[in-house]
Symmetry: C2
Subunit: 225 residues, 2 copies
């Protein structure tokens, strides 16, 4: 028997995908009535969905003010990538050691779909798939607990990229993912760990975390923080 997801889970999952695909910008207000109306549910379940996202740090709840898409600080951005650096390289090693043909095929499919999205100019979708690539690796490593943490960190990374990404060198990612697949195919754990480590370093250095030049939200939001 399946797990019979609650309706609030469905709302939360849909909102989360919208965040991943950059259709919801950091700082956006999420009115409970509005969310409920969009998904045809009451405020009760809309509110539960927002609380779920708040626990994942994708949404910030302010008492008597409402729910807002999170706007990670530069410091938080660094912390997220430091946490990823602790978890993902070793996870990539584990994944390499347990990799099957089916897993490789699924990863390759991810990359292909990502390329297609890039070709179509669907940048949000491509970004989402790029994150899913990392999540898939964690899943293959067969460590649910770590995989969950990584999923959350990647979701937050999506917000960080929305805020701090500097355009230059947008396509470097897929190259790194290709190299990772090569290591996986060779079941070379050492190489996979090293490649993932460097990939994450590349990602961090492609961000501009120096100053707070990223305030795409209302002035009020920026000042009351």
């Amino acid at each position: 028997m399946g797990k019979a997801e609650a309706s609030s889970d469905r709302v939360a999952a849909d909102l989360e995908e919208a965040i991943h695909e950059h259709r919801l910008a950091p700082g956006s207000k999420l009115n409970e009535d509005e969310v409920g109306a969009i998904y045809g549910v009451s405020r009760t379940v809309a509110r539960a969905a927002l609380q779920t996202l708040a626990h994942k740090r994708l949404v910030e709840l302010r008492r008597n003010r409402g729910a807002f898409i999170a706007r990670p600080s530069a410091r938080e951005a660094r912390e997220v990538f430091e946490a990823r650096a602790l978890l993902e390289p070793r996870t990539a090693r584990s994944a390499a050691e347990r990799m099957t043909e089916a897993d490789l095929a699924r990863l390759q499919a991810h990359i292909d779909e990502e390329h297609a999205a890039v070709a179509d100019g669907r940048w949000g979708r491509a970004l989402h798939l790029s994150g899913m690539f990392h999540i898939e690796i964690a899943r293959i490593a067969d460590q649910k607990t770590v995989a969950e943490f990584i999923s959350q960190l990647i979701a937050r990374s999506s917000l960080i990229i929305a805020l701090y990404w500097q355009r230059r060198g947008a396509l470097c990612e897929s190259h790194a993912h290709h190299a990772l697949i090569q290591a996986f195919r060779a079941q070379d754990g050492d190489l996979a760990e090293e490649l993932m480590k460097n990939h994450l370093l590349d990602l961090v250095t492609s961000l501009d975390l120096r100053n707070l030049n990223s305030v795409p939200t209302s002035l009020r939001e920026a000042l009351t923080q």
Copy 2:
């Protein structure tokens, strides 16, 4: 202005402390009406608190069945300690490098209070404080994101210990914590990392994760899972 915590946060925090101190056993049913009555709040906020704990994997929600204190499987127990092994040693190193006198004093106070609790036979309290020692280290390392993950893992460890701890050698912990403080005092990052790594290995080996001999809950719970 403070963060003005919601009332559901207070309920969740209190329930979590009860879990840490082993006053709530794994598998216990948490009736929404009952929880609400105990804390003098409506089912709405009791439910929100239970959802919060479910997100932390301390409570398991079963649709149309209710909320139960989580009962981690042996496999999940291994995963939790593997995740801790990825996060905590490096965090201990960072903490050692940033350690101040005030931090050392606070850690020492934790150990002292833990000893006092052990002397008084308050085992639950001692266990709680033992976990807090690890959380304090993560806080000192000044990495909120990682600290949050570690907090969650330690909370889950409390459930794991309730299920799988084998009594022999109950006091080994405080020794390891003392050794860690020595490393911190010397600001020896290498040593702190190594000590933490070994401490976690000791913890895992002090568990009996071989079989499912741990079913302190109702028969029904054990069979419907």
